[in-house]
């Protein structure tokens, strides 16, 4: 029974999730991400927003959240409800915290730790580890595409990544 934990993360659901998460994190590393337009003020893409502006937008969103919580608490009235709601509070309702990461490849590390523990006989895990490792070894980012010789690139692509 102790061994069941060794194979727990071989479950296809975990591997699918790892594949999905790592794909997204790699794409965030590649190029700036603009989420689909929504009404939230902080939903504009990272491009064009300076550090300060971003912090302001985050503060605004936090205030709006706190306001909504207070309103809900007032409406509820009962203390138990408050405690329960607080416990299951959604810290990241629009998924911003997830994608507004400064280091997508660092975020991928927890996934990789688990994948590496699966051992060499799970090819899907190894593939994902390799993809991230290849991305990390590229320096600077976006100038070396897999399989393309650096000499053939006329000028380095000067895109800034999220890092």
């Amino acid at each position: 029974m102790i061994r069941s934990n060794d194979v727990l993360r071989r479950h296809p659901a975990f591997l699918s999730a790892a594949r999905g998460a790592i794909s997204i994190l790699l794409s965030l590393h590649e190029a700036p991400y603009t989420p689909p337009s929504s009404s939230a003020s902080s939903a504009e893409g990272t491009e064009g927003l300076s550090e300060e502006e971003r912090r302001k937008a985050e503060k605004k969103a936090k205030k709006a959240e706190a306001k909504a919580k207070a309103a809900a608490a007032a409406a509820n009235g009962s203390k138990e409800d408050e405690a329960a709601v607080k416990e299951k509070e959604d810290e990241d309702p629009t998924g911003e915290k997830a994608w507004m990461t400064r280091s997508p490849l660092e975020d991928a590390k927890p996934w990789l730790t688990h994948l590496e523990a699966l051992g060499p006989d799970v090819p899907e895990a190894q593939e994902l580890i390799a993809r991230v490792a290849l991305k990390q070894s590229e320096s600077p980012p976006n100038t070396v595409r897999a399989g393309v010789c650096p000499e053939l690139i006329e000028s380095p692509v000067g895109k800034q990544s999220n890092t």
């Binding site: 727990l8 999730a17 998460a21 989420p35 299951k88 990241d92 915290k97 997830a98």
Partner: protein, 304 residues
């Protein structure tokens, strides 16, 4: 192979019918086929109500014997109205010869009924010699699923249309229609059909889950959560929270993929992270369980 204990006991005595031998089709070849069938027939007589043995004969038999046994098996299943008959026979379709035989038998039955006779052509049961409408319906259902499995979407659709015109209120039919649309790439039509299936039985949790999945495939995330919410705990903060607590990985995965298709990578990543936490939770729970097992002296799982 699903054996009841008596069968396993009895069959252990006969060399040809030890379970590993029978459950492996490659152990039976033309040299011992008729012998195996003879032994199985003997078992059938001994255990007349056991369906497993009769189904096993179909795996083992070939040619004319196969056709005959198949016809009896299918007629029996259709008369009883067994919805899972197709799932039962599906594995036979892997063999090319049997595939042809199955289709021929089923189409023959269909022609027989549509020609005004019964499915086995001998006109018994009904004084007018016609087949019962329920049997005909289950036959169409079986046929549609067979064509769908074999990738013949046109034939499947035409069979489905006939079946749905015959009886539009059977959820199973709409489920097959939904699956057909899914396989032909019509996610919206598939969702619509599955929605109709669900509407025919609001208390069916399985249909609810299927509809939720089809809604997510059609990128209708809010609606999917609403439909899923019909079966989640009412005192949970949200349907999503309850599904996460219940460790419903398929829902989280499908939602994540739906968000990705809609371009919302943040929410997708968030769902993937939730999934990761589910696995971490399972691991933690198991860790606690070791101490519990020790306390209760349930140690067998720890000893090789």
């Amino acid at each position: 192979m699903h054996c009841n204990p008596r069968l396993r006991q009895f069959s252990g005595q006969l060399t040809l019918t030890t379970p590993p031998c029978l459950s492996r089709a490659d152990a039976i070849d033309d040299t011992n086929r008729s012998e195996a069938i003879a032994v199985l027939s003997g078992l059938c007589d001994r255990f007349p109500r056991n369906r497993t043995i009769r189904r096993l004969v179909l795996t083992v038999a070939s040619g004319e014997v196969f056709r005959k046994r198949l016809t009896t098996y299918v007629v029996d299943g259709l008369n009883k109205g067994i919805p899972s008959l197709f799932s039962d026979l599906k594995s036979l379709l892997a063999d090319e010869e049997k595939r042809g035989a199955v289709l021929a038998v089923l189409e023959g039955m269909r022609a027989s009924v549509e020609g005004g006779s019964t499915i086995d052509g001998d006109g018994d049961g009904d004084p007018a010699g016609e087949e019962a409408p329920t049997t005909y319906l289950w036959l169409l259902y079986l046929l549609a699923q067979t064509y769908l499995h074999l990738g013949n979407f046109a034939a499947s659709q035409s069979t489905m249309s006939t079946a749905l015109a015959h009886t539009p209120v059977l959820p199973e039919l709409w489920m097959v229609q939904a699956r057909l649309h899914k396989r032909t790439g019509d996610v919206l039509l598939a969702e619509d059909a599955m929605g109709r299936a669900r509407a025919l039985d609001g208390q069916d949790r399985f249909l609810n889950g299927k509809h939720v999945k089809y809604l997510l495939r059609a990128d209708e995330i809010e609606q999917a959560e609403a439909v899923a919410g019909l079966f989640t705990r009412k005192d949970a903060p949200s349907a999503l929270q309850d599904l996460t607590d219940m460790q419903c990985t398929w829902f989280l995965l499908e939602e994540a993929k739906a968000f990705e298709r809609k371009g919302d990578r943040g929410m997708a990543l968030k769902r993937y992270n939730t999934l990761e936490r589910v696995f971490a939770e399972i691991r933690e729970d198991e860790f606690d369980f070791h101490a519990y097992s020790m306390r209760k002296f349930t140690l067998r799982a720890y000893v090789k």
